[in-house]
Symmetry: D3
Subunit: 252 residues, 6 copies
């Protein structure tokens, strides 16, 4: 793996000269995650997955984008939200530099729902206007795994926030930042027009938790990480094939 925190520009130069290199970029958020999880939860989770993928794929691991688009939770103190335009511009700029650097493709590991569209639009522009293939991963396999191994129900279908799922991830990745003694469930009543009009989550949720984090364990977190890594690698294999990006052993 070519970790930006450790490697030099010569490492990158030599790698891209000798084989097709994929870059990996986690996109997270600084966002409320209840009383028991830190603000950086989404960033830690996404970067945890990105790191495993970069290792497995001998890729170039960039530092995560720690700030995400969090309009829906802005009224919780501590949530720091950036606009979709800013997030899109950021991914676009990074992608253009990666293209110039010579990487063969970019894999975005997204850890926050609000980031999806902005990074999707950036991916489209990078591919169609700048010729850089971009794969956007949103934890493939998470839903199926949650249905299989979780002991609690999600607050809504496909909605995981500060619940058993995310808490399990954090217990596996950064247990020192989890305060299980503060973990408490909340199953809010969603407004009838949820998803159809702009609604801040604080208007119907008090604690920031959606579901029940208490049954979370580090073991479950590891299962999530393993499954998502596996599913992601399948997507990456298809992505490589689509764009003729050969997979080779890393020599450095």
């Amino acid at each position: 793996m070519l970790d930006a925190a450790k490697c030099s520009w010569l490492d990158i130069r030599d790698a891209v000269a000798s084989r097709p290199v994929l870059a990996f970029l986690a996109v997270g958020a600084v966002e409320q995650h209840g009383a028991h999880l830190p603000l950086l939860t989404d960033t830690v989770m996404a970067n945890g997955v990105a790191r495993r993928l970069a290792e497995a794929e001998a890729g170039f691991l960039l530092p995560p984008l720690a700030f995400g688009e969090c309009w829906t939770t802005e009224s919780f103190p501590g949530t720091i939200s950036i606009s979709p335009q800013t997030l899109k511009a950021l991914v676009l700029d990074i992608g253009r530099s990666l293209k110039r650097t010579g990487v063969a493709g970019l894999v975005l590991v997204n850890g926050h729902f609000g980031n999806r569209e902005p990074i999707g639009l950036a991916a489209r522009a990078l591919f169609s206007e700048h010729g850089l293939p971009v794969l956007c991963l949103d934890y493939p396999g998470l839903v199926e795994t949650a249905e299989e191994i979780c002991d609690s129900k999600p607050a809504a279908p496909h909605f995981y926030h500060a619940d058993e799922v995310e808490t399990a991830f954090m217990l596996a990745l950064a247990p020192e930042t989890v305060r299980m003694e503060l973990a408490a469930p909340e199953y809010p009543v969603f407004p009838a027009t949820f998803g159809q009009e702009p609604i801040e989550l604080s208007s119907f949720n008090e604690s920031g938790v959606f579901g029940d984090p208490r049954p979370a364990t580090a073991e479950k977190g590891e299962i999530f990480l393993a499954r998502i890594t596996e599913q992601s690698r399948r997507a990456i294999a298809a992505f490589r094939k689509n764009h003729g990006i050969a997979e080779r052993e890393m020599t450095v």
Copy 2:
């Protein structure tokens, strides 16, 4: 200290409700730093200072902005540059969220020359249009300390890049990422119009090093960190005074 990697939204809510809280944000870069330093050097350095300041000031430490404006080194593979507009927008968005969250002011710790103007413009807008005081620190005291403790000369006045100064910082902050065996000096000849027209550094520098990194030691790095922290705290004290932001003991 309120570290976004560890604290919850309730910690932030309670802190801002009980005392004036300053937020601390490092702004770094992913940029070539010669053969012996990692791409993330500027980010690691700025975040090292920001963390010390947040601790000393009982502030809210945000995750660093790891990507900076690096037009001048874009042609070195591995440098990932974002545009000044994107960087300005990013700081503006973050500042607006901080204002909404209730912090009393924002301290930017900048680790890269190209970031100065974009973050200065964001600071201006945040202060004059959004009422958030913003202090921009560019390693106060660094020049004087370098003149005092360095054994090598800088490649140009006030120009420190992958040299004794930065290498010393990194030996103090992240020694495992420094490869001193690859450290080698380069004193390039600057073009006569340097600073007067747009010039990519690669047009007159080969290794990415400006100066001589070899005399660097972790001890010197610690001296830099201590001096800069001290000078920065003086600036913060004046900043607090300008805006009536009382300094109180952190209770949590």
Copy 3:
């Protein structure tokens, strides 16, 4: 109903002065829909629903936005795509004028997938910055109805394009524009990374049809229209309740 094609400014002035008025705006597309359906299919469908809702709710029916965001089908001749930024700006401008005119809320009836995010972002800005409540309807009840009454399977889950569903709508709304003799099925093989990276539909679909349009009938189209209208009215009732927009009889 206050139809912009028929009513005068005095009709609008008097209506908004006497009761809370909702505006209805269909958002469609000019996009390929196989050999048997016209380019305007999405616009005709969305406007058909919007008209029924405006009638039922005694609302202000605006002319439809006929052009939508169609990046994925741009390589089919005849598809005319506008950028997400342009679509968002258009809805924002219209909403601001509606606010000034005095309407109580805006109901967007969307007929094309690519429009979702841009109009969602416009809705957010209109509500949070301009105080205009906006409801975004994406054919509520369509999926369930399709599963119940269709004789063919969709080409992919929740993916309806030039198939039995859309053809049924058009047979009910504009039968003179449907050429059933040209209707032919296509069940393309979706790429493994579909939904994860930007992919033009023409790269794996030849005819523009996704599924089998042949079993479509006008009767099925009427059932869709009736169910969607009913489900939409439920959402509108909740939306009215959220924002205190009373429902009254139209007097003009």
Copy 4:
């Protein structure tokens, strides 16, 4: 004629493959037009002309842009105005897609004064940056015809709004939307600085009518349509000649 409401993408594909095709796009407005004309008047008029031209020229008739730039009448309820920037962006996006689709040129039929400059700027960009010739028609021949056949005087030179001219058009094109029993004259006193500073029309006009709509008849409307169509076709012939766009018989 290739009407987007009726033809398929294959019709467009085949047409552009066999001969040079011109696209026709009406640009109208949702704007107050006195007590007797509907809000959509400008759109109906412009589209009436565009349809006749598309038929005569065997062109591709797009759905009209129904919303225009109406700053001057924004304070009349029911007027829905979009900004010049948005209108320009909309025409630009559409033109780019038309270029990709393979049309030989675009003819804009403008029905509202405020639209002139934005669509003129879009035309310039489409021609000089994207290579798409664009002709902007503002009812050529209207002034001369009005002087010849109208029984009332305009409220100001070259100023026709909800008067005999526009009412005649509407009686010819959409008589069911005209309420002649409400038609009443108004000859407002124009401010001395009209045209020299931004002035909302409502500051000196009460009814929304400028002139006297009462002498309007459908016959006069037909004469306007015939003359304008004829003059427009002359301009189109010159436009075709300028750009080498041959006129051929439509075979489908």
Copy 5:
């Protein structure tokens, strides 16, 4: 008169504190004007008028905007054109500063056709969003005076460029920059679609002259200046009345 080239900030402070002050800003161009007139012709002319008005009205004379929007003559070497967006932004920024400075209104003296719309849009925004009244003068009375005193005909109705009219102005304002020995007539044939599609003037004009500059004299120029000044002052009087901006004697 408060001439920015001569007065200090204290002069401005005292003037706006004691009476309503109008600011005067000429908007010109750097554009080809045939063989006998300098590139700065439009700027010199507009500033000549602005200076006379500022003197007569005891106003604040700003330095002229010397660069204008000249798309149509860009292919003549020496024409320097700025985009309509840039010109609009420039006038907007200046207007905002003038509002803050305390002036009562802004009078724009435009000397170039292409500037009309951008400065008109800026005027609208300044008035409706920032509360600064703005009057846009386009040489009122010029057409009538030309018809009365010129010995040559214009190349097209209301079209004056490097002809008798402009040459007369320049002979009155800056005779040392006029080379009458190079003045020669050109009456180009305008394309049939002129005004209906984007056309560069160089496509049908060779010398840059439109009409016949030879009969121009300084006396005629003085008549133009006198008449335009008179007509402009009438418009200014109406403008003052519209906005309650009293006219008082200048005391400084």
Copy 6:
């Protein structure tokens, strides 16, 4: 010299056809300069230097950009500030036109600190995206000359505003606009965080003067002009060499 105020488009056409021509553009400001200097001081100074350089280099002298970026002095009446974005756009547009006109390079003579970054960014874009070399001169040699010939000290290192330096320039260039009888010194106390946070100068300076203008003389102004011209020409010589722009005698 090709002065835009005097030469025609044919002069420019012939010059660029026969030799490499540099364009010269002064960038100044309309800004408070104490009681004794006019608002246009920075523009007069920069244009004075630009004119000397254009003469010496047989260049194309454009009219100066008279408005600059003056956020820090906006609260002094009479200061008219434009945003950095507008200034950057203006220089970019002008540069693009110069490129089209055929000049070999652009020399910007900047007379105001706030303009530095915007014009530097424009220079970068013009060079890297449009292929126009741009040299940005900020009075090279000024600091050394001031240290050598001034009888007063600057208010802060490298800070010259309405002081002996600028007054000397103005006495040399436009003595009729200087009121020495009003010249008075002010040595304000700079805030501790000056340069680290956005601070309006009026918050700690009363008169607008920084330093002591009284010892200024026209002779000193001439020395400044001569030294800066000399140093600037050295930079231009290096700039010509960097880009292969030969220096030739002007024949016209």
